[in-house]
C-alpha cells in the first residue's frame, strides 16, 4: 500500500509543476499591460517603470516563473494589484466560503444521487426507473445559473421565504441567519453531482445485480432487503470516488453560481480578478484551485485503492 501511495505521489509531482507553468503562462500571454489597472492614465514613464520593477514584470519570463514558484513555495503568492492585500489571504478566505457551499451541495447531491440511482437500478425499466433517470438527465442538462435564477424567482421574489443574495451578516457561522442564505445556492449547485451520481449508481446497481454472487445470496435464502444491502456495499466505493471528483469540479466551477447569488467565494474572486485585470490574484486563485483539484484526485485514488485491492495491481 505504501509503495502504491509513494508511486502516486511521485507521479503527481510533474503534474503539479506543469499546472503551475500553465497558470503562469496563461496570465503572461495576456494581451495588454498588467499595470493598466493600477497606473493612473497620465502616469509618467518613470513611475510605470518603477511599478513594473516593483511587481517584477521587467524581468525575463523564465526568471519571473522561477521567482513566482520560489515565493509560492514559501506561502507568498504576491500582492493583489486591485486591493493591495496578499493574494494568499484573499484566496484562503474565499476558498473557505466556496468550501462551505461546495461541500453542502455535494452532500445533498450525493444523498439524492445515491437514492435515485439505487432505486432506478433496482427497479430497472419500470416507471420508477424512468422518473429517476429523467431527473438525472435534467440535472446534468440544466444550465445551473438559470436554475439559480428560477429558484430565486420562486423562493425569494414570489414566496419571500429565502434571501436571494449574499451569505448573511458578518462572518460565517452555522446558525439559521446564515444557513438560510446557503439553501438556494447549495441546492442549485447540487443538481449536477446529483445527476452524475444517479447515472453512475444506476449503472453500478445493474452490473452488481447481474453478477453471480447475487444469485448465490438469493438461493441461500436471503431476504430481498438483505440482498439490497450487499448491492449498496458493493456500489459504495465507486459512488464515493465519483463524488470526490465532483467535489473538485464544484470547487473549481462555482463561479457561475457564486455570481448569481453574490456568494463571496473563489468564483466571485476570480470574476473580479478577471474584470479588474488583477493578474497576481487571477494567477494565485487558479493555481490554488487547480492544486486542490490535483490533491483531491490523489486522495480519491488512494482511498479507492485502500478499499479495493484490485486497483493497486494495475
Amino acid at each position: 500500500m505504501l509503495v502504491y501511495i509513494l508511486r502516486r505521489i511521485i507521479y503527481v509531482i510533474p503534474i503539479v509543476i506543469a499546472v503551475a507553468l500553465v497558470c503562469f503562462l496563461l496570465v503572461h500571454i495576456t494581451p495588454g499591460d498588467p499595470l493598466v489597472a493600477v497606473l493612473p492614465a497620465d502616469a509618467s514613464a518613470e513611475l510605470a517603470a518603477q511599478m513594473r520593477a516593483a511587481y517584477g514584470f521587467d524581468r525575463p519570463l523564465p526568471v519571473q516563473f522561477g521567482l513566482w514558484i520560489w515565493q509560492a513555495l514559501h506561502g507568498n503568492l504576491g500582492t493583489s494589484i486591485a486591493s493591495g492585500r496578499p493574494v494568499l489571504a484573499e484566496v484562503t478566505q474565499a476558498v473557505g466560503n466556496t468550501f462551505i457551499l461546495a461541500v453542502t451541495a455535494s452532500l445533498i447531491g450525493f444523498f439524492f444521487g445515491v437514492f435515485f440511482g439505487l432505486v432506478a437500478g433496482y427497479f430497472r425499466n419500470t416507471w420508477v426507473d424512468k422518473v429517476a433517470t429523467s431527473i438525472a438527465v435534467a440535472g446534468v442538462s440544466v444550465p445551473h445559473y438559470w436554475l439559480g435564477m428560477v429558484l430565486v424567482i420562486i423562493f425569494s421574489v414570489w414566496l419571500n421565504w429565502l434571501p436571494a443574495v449574499g451569505m448573511g451578516p458578518g462572518g460565517w457561522s452555522w446558525d439559521w441567519a446564515h444557513m438560510r442564505h446557503l439553501i438556494l445556492p447549495a441546492v442549485t449547485m447540487s443538481v449536477i453531482p446529483m445527476g452524475i451520481v444517479t447515472r453512475t449508481v444506476r449503472a453500478l446497481t445493474g452490473d452488481i445485480l447481474s453478477q453471480d454472487f447475487v444469485e448465490a445470496l438469493r438461493s441461500k435464502g436471503l431476504k430481498e432487503t438483505q440482498v439490497f444491502r450487499h448491492v449498496v456495499k458493493n456500489a459504495a466505493p465507486t459512488a464515493v470516488a465519483v463524488m470526490g471528483l465532483q467535489l473538485g469540479y464544484l470547487l473549481g466551477g462555482s463561479i457561475l453560481i457564486e455570481t448569481v447569488f453574490s456568494w463571496p467565494g473563489t468564483g466571485f474572486l476570480l470574476n473580479s480578478a478577471i474584470f479588474q485585470r488583477d493578474l497576481p490574484l487571477l494567477q494565485g486563485t487558479i493555481l490554488v484551485l487547480a492544486l486542490f483539484f490535483v490533491f483531491l484526485n490523489l486522495v480519491v485514488d488512494i482511498a479507492q485503492a485502500s478499499i479495493d485491492p484490485r486497483i493497486k495491481r494495475s
Binding site: 496563461l26 440544466v142 438559470w146 428560477v150 448569481v260 478577471i274 487547480a290
Partner: protein, 295 residues
C-alpha cells in the same frame, strides 16, 4: 460434394446481411425519445437559420415605452426585454450565436482530439507519452475553471470563447480516442493490413478510423450539452458575446435585473439553453444504446 453445395447456394435466397451502421440507424430511428429530441433541435436550428425570412420583429430595435411587456401581450407573443426589444425575435435570432458557440468547439475538438488520440494510440511509445502526459496536465484543471481562466485572459468575444472551450474539450476527446485506438490497434485485421504492406497513414485512415470514429462520435455528442451550458455561461459572465447581439446566455444576464418586474420573460432564454442541452443529451444516450447492438 461441390455439386450439392453449389445447388444449395443457388437455391438459397440472395440476402445481404444488413451492415452495422444501417442496423444502428434503424434502431436509432425507432427510438421515440430520440426522434422527438431530433425534431425539436431541427426546428430550433432551422428557425435560427431562416430567422430573417420568418417575418419577425427587428431583434435590435428597442423602445423605451414598451419595456418588459409580459408574455402573451398582443403583438409581443413572448413579451419584450429590458430595452423593449421583441423577445420571440431575440430568442430565435439568439439561436444563431448560441448554437454556434456551443457546437463549434465540440466539432473543432472532435477533429483535433481524434487526430491526436489516433496518433498517440497507433504510434505508442514516445509520441504517446508526450501527447498523453500533456493531456494529463489539462485534466488537472476542472473544466469550468479552465474555460473561464482562458476566456478571462483572452478577453470577451465570440472567437475567444470558442477557442477556450475547444481547449477544454480537446483533452477529453483525445483521451477517449487514444483508449479506443489502443484497443483496436492489436486486432488481427490491423496486423493483416500491416503484413500486406500498408503504411502507417493508410492503416490509420482506412482501417482504424472507421472503427474508432463511432465511440468517439457518441462521446462528442454528449459533450455538446456541456458545451452549450458552458458557452452560454461564459456570455452570462460577460466573457462571451457582447451586447447588443442576441445570445441566450447574454440575454439571461441582462434580464437578471428584471426578475422582480417580469420573472417570466427573464427566465425565457434559460429555457432555450435547457431545451437544446437536454435534447442533445437524450440524442447522445439514444445513439449510445442504438450502437450497443448486443442488447
Amino acid at each position: 460434394m461441390s455439386a450439392t453445395s453449389d445447388a444449395a447456394l443457388q437455391a438459397a435466397p440472395v440476402q445481404k446481411a444488413r451492415g452495422y451502421w444501417a442496423t444502428v440507424g434503424r434502431r436509432f430511428s425507432r427510438d421515440k425519445v430520440s426522434m422527438v429530441c431530433a425534431a425539436v433541435l431541427l426546428a430550433i436550428v432551422l428557425a435560427a437559420i431562416f430567422a430573417p425570412w420568418l417575418g419577425l420583429a427587428d431583434p435590435y430595435q428597442g423602445s423605451m415605452i414598451r419595456r418588459l411587456r409580459h408574455i402573451g401581450t398582443p403583438g409581443y407573443l413572448l413579451g419584450t426585454d429590458e430595452l423593449g426589444r421583441d423577445m420571440l425575435s431575440r430568442l430565435i435570432y439568439g439561436g444563431r450565436l448560441s448554437l454556434l458557440i456551443g457546437i463549434l468547439p465540440v466539432v473543432l475538438a472532435f477533429g483535433i482530439g481524434t487526430s491526436l488520440g489516433l496518433l498517440a494510440g497507433y504510434l505508442g511509445g514516445a509520441v504517446n507519452t508526450i501527447i498523453m502526459r500533456t493531456i494529463d496536465v489539462f485534466y488537472a484543471f476542472p473544466s469550468v475553471l479552465l474555460a473561464i481562466a482562458i476566456s478571462g485572459v483572452l478577453g470577451a468575444g465570440v472567437v475567444n470563447s470558442i477557442v477556450s472551450l475547444t481547449v477544454v474539450f480537446v483533452p477529453q476527446i483525445t483521451r477517449v480516442a487514444e483508449s479506443v485506438t489502443t484497443s483496436v490497434r492489436n486486432l488481427d485485421f490491423v496486423d493483416a493490413a500491416r503484413a500486406s504492406g500498408a503504411g502507417a497513414i493508410t492503416i490509420m485512415r482506412v482501417h482504424m478510423l472507421g472503427n474508432v470514429l463511432g465511440p468517439i462520435f457518441v462521446y462528442a455528442t454528449g459533450l455538446i450539452s456541456v458545451s452549450m451550458i458552458l458557452a452560454s455561461g461564459l456570455s452570462f459572465l460577460g466573457l462571451g458575446t457582447k451586447p447588443p447581439e442576441p445570445e441566450w446566455g447574454l440575454m439571461l444576464n441582462t434580464l437578471r435585473t428584471a426578475i422582480y418586474v417580469n420573472p417570466g420573460v427573464a427566465a425565457l432564454p434559460g429555457v432555450m439553453i435547457f431545451a437544446v442541452s437536454i435534447c442533445f443529451n437524450m440524442l447522445s444516450d439514444g445513439l449510445r444504446s442504438a450502437m450497443d447492438i448486443r442488447n
